[in-house]
Subunit: 366 residues, 2 copies
Amino acid sequence: MSRAYNFSAGPATLPEAVLLQAQAELLEWRGVGASIVELSHRGPEFMQVAAEAEADLRTLMSIPDDYAVLFLQGGATVQQALIALNFAAPGQRADYIVTGHWGKTALKQVLPYVAANVAANGEAGGFRDIPARASWQLSDDAAYVHYTANETIHGVEFRSASGGDIPEVGDVPLIADFSSSIVSEPLDVSRFGVIYGGAQKNLGPVGVSVVIVRRELLERAGQPRAEIFNYAAHVRGESMLNTPPTWNWYLAGLVFKWMLAEGGVTEFARRNARKSKLLYDVIDGSGGFYRNEVAVAVRSRMNVPFFLCDDALDKPFLAEAKEAGLISLKGHRALGGMRASIYNAMPEEGVQALAAFMRSFQQRHG
Amino acid sequence: MSRAYNFSAGPATLPEAVLLQAQAELLEWRGVGASIVELSHRGPEFMQVAAEAEADLRTLMSIPDDYAVLFLQGGATVQQALIALNFAAPGQRADYIVTGHWGKTALKQVLPYVAANVAANGEAGGFRDIPARASWQLSDDAAYVHYTANETIHGVEFRSASGGDIPEVGDVPLIADFSSSIVSEPLDVSRFGVIYGGAQKNLGPVGVSVVIVRRELLERAGQPRAEIFNYAAHVRGESMLNTPPTWNWYLAGLVFKWMLAEGGVTEFARRNARKSKLLYDVIDGSGGFYRNEVAVAVRSRMNVPFFLCDDALDKPFLAEAKEAGLISLKGHRALGGMRASIYNAMPEEGVQALAAFMRSFQQRHG
């Protein structure tokens, strides 16, 4: 087949224009006689790529100057461990809001390092809603409060455009895993102590993570740790304490330029609202043939999980979708069913094609 | 220019055949409708890529079955910290052999975790030789002995083909940073507890690291740590505890297939011996115009650092080399001078071109 519409949850689809540019430049980058993946990270060529990527991300997200931006290896999971090591004293209390699988993962990583207080947990309700802010049992001496902005498996999202759903937690630094919803709509970065995420959903390629950290937090002593686990050292070393994942960083930079050219986060917020509404409308209008059980107010705009009324239809659904050029729709093994991940790089045409396919599949099998 | 001969120390030159294949497949991988960089790491396509890469590396290096092979993020520096966390009890003694810049880095990472004993240190001699084995002050209760097989900056290498220069350390596990000389010649893996390295020199692309670990070592309790810092958990999770750097892993796999097709490590050992001899012969035959001060028996086959007789010639040397299509020859800022890195992917023609250029430059400026 030619290129399909790929609804993978991450690694996820990339803008075709970005892939075409990366392809054209793969053997030789801008007349320097080598691929960007073959050049020293400390040479003038890559230093420029790195600086442009940071500047473009700062523009995209309106990141204030008192925040440092890091491009690191390890994925969100490594950052989850490093957050405790860098921002909490040994055994200090830290508050965790658990609204899905990834919130549980974040909590698990820090158990050796902090006294984790699960201040709110949606698991009893199957992670179909976010516990009301008034019910959260926050500590008054927490090092920080951690939450997961968007849960890719359960399809539950704290919405950020209005600022209304960024939790108010007083003077305690708010730390959020934004792996799967970063740059999908405007966000007031100044509300956060740390925003972090793996890049493989909205930011571009797998293999590089972004950490945006309020500089004053870097003065915390944290816990005994290797220099390579020290965020302040990474800031001093401009994310090059050791050899960074240059190609992945470069590809993320191309995605940033593409997003800016397309109109930035305000435009993507509009597209993402339209895209997710299209799918939820098909599901809600299917008379129960398709089912999404998440509370409407917290439904994710990035990941739309849904079930068919009969499990026996899962296989034909996936097979016929693939025939129609719609791939990677199988749900996460933890939940089953289907899932359509529709990050910034998924064009509206792709979502329209999926919506049309879902209606047609229902007509044929309903 | 078109593609030059690129002597970068890492990220380093890649086989052109590998880049061409990656370029051809970048928008769509084997008819699946998406790039390999856009596919789920848990899907059948990438799982096959991952399994083939491991199998090919096992073949290339004749890795025994009682060794696990991991493909991880973080680079060698992160592995250096994890080695202490996984294989030493808190504050336990560990022996370090320091023969250059990277040995010092390895030592620095573990100071928060172990009682490091520097059993041998070549720094007083400017890292121009490896302290004789008889002079090493090994502990009798060390958790492990660590050394750096090849020092890319100082150009000092423990040779491995004959087995003679793998240090004999009794029953204590030997752990070695092989970032810059892995798969450059045959190696008896069974002599080691752990072999690790970043991939961006001989194994291929930056952004993925390889850790080869004797399985019985995974039973050690180590130190309190997050699951994501636990090698045993990574082995159980088949290097997919979290989203791995799929494209980098894929590219490494293409390099492994290329190396096997070219004749494997025995063939590369022959080529690397010829390549390094060519450059050392030019240097030693230059009557002092070029200078390499490393003891002949431990000169690196991978990185040939050299100085010109007059610093004022450095700039013209680099400028004329670039004109001749020979790039990235500037030495590391810690040492100055020049450096030619000539890993597996550097063709013999490239080294011949450099040798000819060096002779011609001497004629014109000597």
